[in-house]
């Protein structure tokens, strides 16, 4: 069943069209990644899904609700971790979560919320004394306090150290395993690749790539690279290659096969392909290609 349905969504700020006809669907219990460069329209899209901004065109349904018209019901069933939102600096972590329980329909117990996000030892620390990563964990504690059916996470691990990031991934996976639908925006492509089962890449307010993570990556070429021997010209190689900074780079749908072909060819000629690297397509390749970062 579909938890989030976005169809031909449009939004302008002043004369600038931030979102231009975006469409995608997210299934129940799925972790979906919305990727794109800064200014691609990710946050504007998330804010329309969460009901903070009214779309100029197109339709949005979250849990079959209109985020603007059915805002009260939507708030009961969703959690939002905004990219930027303030805290009451003079309250402690425990006081903040306890206060938030007053604003939440069926909140988790305080101890559970702190434990879930690894903030138990910080319960008596004032928010202004927390590091950036700890504030993001508090953000997550507030967003998940009401056991939401749909969770919007806008850059959830920004500022976290590697361990906290990994813990956050575990939390997100755990919530998804319990049936929570997660829509995630992130700058960390590794994060998206590890967590999400499906993705959409936005560029200049439009979807430029969309689908299942595995299928989308399988459709992209991998790469074989090595230091080109002095006596060899790129045209001599048995597979098409270009030379970048003295390294031959071959794009291939099946990089393993391309590597075998190259090694056999080199062996027959007594050549050594130094620093050989074989790499399947990654989300980074897809992102750079789709979002046009290499332009």
């Amino acid at each position: 069943m579909t938890a989030i349905q976005v169809t031909k969504l449009r939004k302008s700020h002043g004369g600038f069209e931030a979102v231009r006809g975006v469409s995608f669907e997210v299934g129940e219990g799925e972790i979906f990644a919305l990727l794109g460069r800064n200014g691609a329209g990710k946050t504007t899209t998330v804010e329309m899904l969460a009901g903070f901004q009214r779309p100029d065109g197109g339709t949005v349904r979250v849990l079959d609700l209109d985020p603007v018209a059915d805002q009260a019901e939507l708030r009961r069933r969703t959690g939002v971790m905004l990219q930027e939102a303030g805290f009451f600096q003079e309250l402690t972590v425990g006081q903040t979560v306890a206060m938030w329980r007053d604003f939440t329909a069926v909140p988790r117990p305080l101890e559970e919320a702190l434990d879930l996000t690894g903030l138990t030892t910080k319960a008596d620390t004032k928010v202004r004394q927390l590091s950036g990563g700890e504030k993001r964990r508090l953000d997550l504690a507030l967003a998940t306090l009401g056991r939401p059916d749909v969770l919007f996470l806008d850059e959830p691990t920004t500022g976290m150290d590697p361990e906290a990031r990994k813990n956050t991934w575990d939390i997100v996976r755990g919530l998804a395993a319990e049936g929570t639908t997660v829509l995630l925006t992130t700058h960390y492509l590794e994060e998206a690749q590890r967590l999400a089962s499906r993705l959409a890449i936005l560029d200049a307010g439009e979807v430029v790539a969309y689908g299942g993570m595995v299928e989308t990556l399988a459709g992209r070429s991998g790469r074989v690279s090595f230091t080109l021997p002095d006596s060899v010209a790129p045209d001599d190689l048995p597979v098409p290659a270009s030379v970048i900074d003295g390294r031959a780079v071959c794009q291939a749908a099946d990089p393993d096969l391309a590597a075998q072909t190259l090694l056999s060819w080199a062996s027959e000629r007594g050549l050594r392909l130094a620093s050989l690297e074989v790499r399947m397509a990654t989300l980074e390749d897809l992102f750079l290609e789709a979002a046009g970062n290499d332009r």
Binding site: H13, A85, G86, M99, D102, F103
Partner: protein, 253 residues
Amino acid sequence: MTGTAAAFRLSTRLFWLDRGVVFGTVVTPVVLCVGMPVLMGALRPDGVAGAVQTFVGGLAIVLSVSTFMSIVQALTARRDQLLLKRLRTTLLTERQILVGEISGQVVQTVALVAVCTLAVHLAADVPLPRNPLLYAVFVVAGTTVVAILGAAFTALVPRLELAAVMSMPFFLVAGVGAGAMGPFMEMMPTALRMVFAALPTDAVVTVARTTIASGTIAGDLRAALVPAIKLVVWGLIGIFALARWFRWEPRRS
């Protein structure tokens, strides 16, 4: 706990946690509203009459500092620090957030006015209002209207640093109009006096003056009619402006 009650509790708690705000919006106006009448009562030849005049004028200062300037400061800070944005992610509706904030300011100011009224009675012999109910109704209604106007005014404040500076003119105009800063009104042309008399704080000052002076209940009610109309009109203007222009987030640069 209802959403409005939760928002009220939050607003009140945050207010008392901020010592700078407490000093500026509680200590200063109370010192002015109580200290000046006591001083006037002791120094001026008309004694109690002078203290009464200064005290009712001081009510305009309490309303403008403890309510108007305080809510402008609080809401602008919460908007610029993206706290209002965060609150909107919760079950609280926009109306509950604003009503909680406004009612927090109203309760605090009404409590201050009650303290000041008792203090000047004990320290400067200013009579207690003959008609405490009418006095209380106008203090509550006037404070509410001023708080609504303050909340609406934040739409004009581009950033927190300018909140105090931009709300200062209201304090000066309300204080001068109420006679709290000396007998300036006696020197002003009639047209300008009418402008000052149209202020929402003047409605509270007028009814306070009436209920403290000798008179009858019927006379009090007649005197309260025009101030009541003023408060209704200002209240409607404030609610319209709040609904139309209130900003939940800082302007995008």
